[in-house]
């Protein structure tokens, strides 16, 4: 497991300032979807048992087949919900006093870690678009750098304007500390 006290390639004097994940509403939408999918078999049985004389699930094969189907359905639904949660949970941005670390889990057995030294940060933009984003206060942050990965993208993060202000402030502090290294 990762530890926030032992980051990848930990720098001397480096301290974690903030750990950011996508806004909870992103996960909430997935929860709602899975709750709806979870309720579908109940809805199906309600409709079939109350609207016709057909008693599905009570035949010699139908009963075990129904139980097996429902068991497999709920197990795989729960598994896919866990996959969605892992996708949400393992994507993380770590802001330290020295750098931004972008950790992205791109499916299973595929993980990308990118980092940006704060003194190289040139421009930070926050963006809030859409009804839910505006009402719930989440959006995107773009951090422009002169490095190989030119633009860091914080997607659907909570309070993007506060993150923008934080990045501007700590990048200024970092530039003061690393005067002379900016040009390299």
């Amino acid at each position: 497991m990762l530890s926030i006290y032992r980051l990848p390639d930990h720098l001397p004097g480096e301290k974690v300032i903030k750990i950011i994940r996508k806004d909870f509403f992103v996960l909430f939408k997935k929860i709602v979807l899975f709750v709806i999918l979870g309720g579908l078999p109940f809805l199906f049985f309600f409709v079939t048992n109350y609207s016709s004389t057909l008693n599905i699930g009570e035949g010699l094969i139908a009963y075990p087949l129904t139980i097996i189907f429902l068991s497999s359905y709920y197990l795989f639904l729960w598994l896919f919900f866990f996959f969605s949660f892992i996708d949400y949970y393992l994507d993380v941005w770590i802001i330290t006093n020295e750098r931004i670390i972008d950790i992205k889990q791109e499916g299973f057995f595929a993980r990308t870690i990118a980092e940006l030294r704060l003194y190289r940060l040139q421009d930070v933009t926050s963006e809030v678009k859409g009804i839910f984003s505006t009402l719930l206060g989440y959006g995107n942050v773009y951090a422009q750098t002169a490095g190989e990965k030119q633009r860091f993208f914080f997607k659907d993060v909570p309070r993007p304007e506060k993150i923008r202000d934080l990045l501007i402030k700590i990048s200024e502090d970092s530039r003061k500390l690393h005067k002379g290294e900016e040009m390299t």
Binding site: M1, L2, S3, I4, I19, L54, N55, I56, E58, G59, L60, I61, A62, Y63, P64, L65, I67, I68, L70, S71, S72, Y74, L75, F76, W78, L79, F82, F83, F85, I86, Y89, L90, V92, I103, Q105, F108, R111
Partner: protein
């Protein structure tokens, strides 16, 4: 067409095997790449507990089934 009912049980076993493999992969990723925090461990625990609950309920309803019966398709499907 006649077949023994336990064929369905083997089919179920095959789904369970697939499910187990994917679950282990998911738990491996959480364990290896998740932060050492309460949320990581708690989410893994909740996943396992709910999974066992689904197994328990399924086995409760499947326990009463006589798997040795031979069934004919279409004849005994609907009561």
């Amino acid at each position: 067409m006649t077949f023994p009912l336990y064929i369905l049980f083997f089919l179920y076993g095959f789904f369970l095997l697939l499910w187990t493999i994917f679950s282990l992969i998911a738990l491996y990723h959480m364990f290896k790449f998740g932060f050492k925090t309460f949320t990581t461990l708690f989410s893994m625990l909740v996943y396992l507990l709910v999974s066992f609950a689904i197994f328990y309920v399924s086995s409760y309803y499947l326990m009463g089934v006589d798997w040795t019966l031979n069934v004919s398709i279409l004849k005994n499907f609907i009561n």
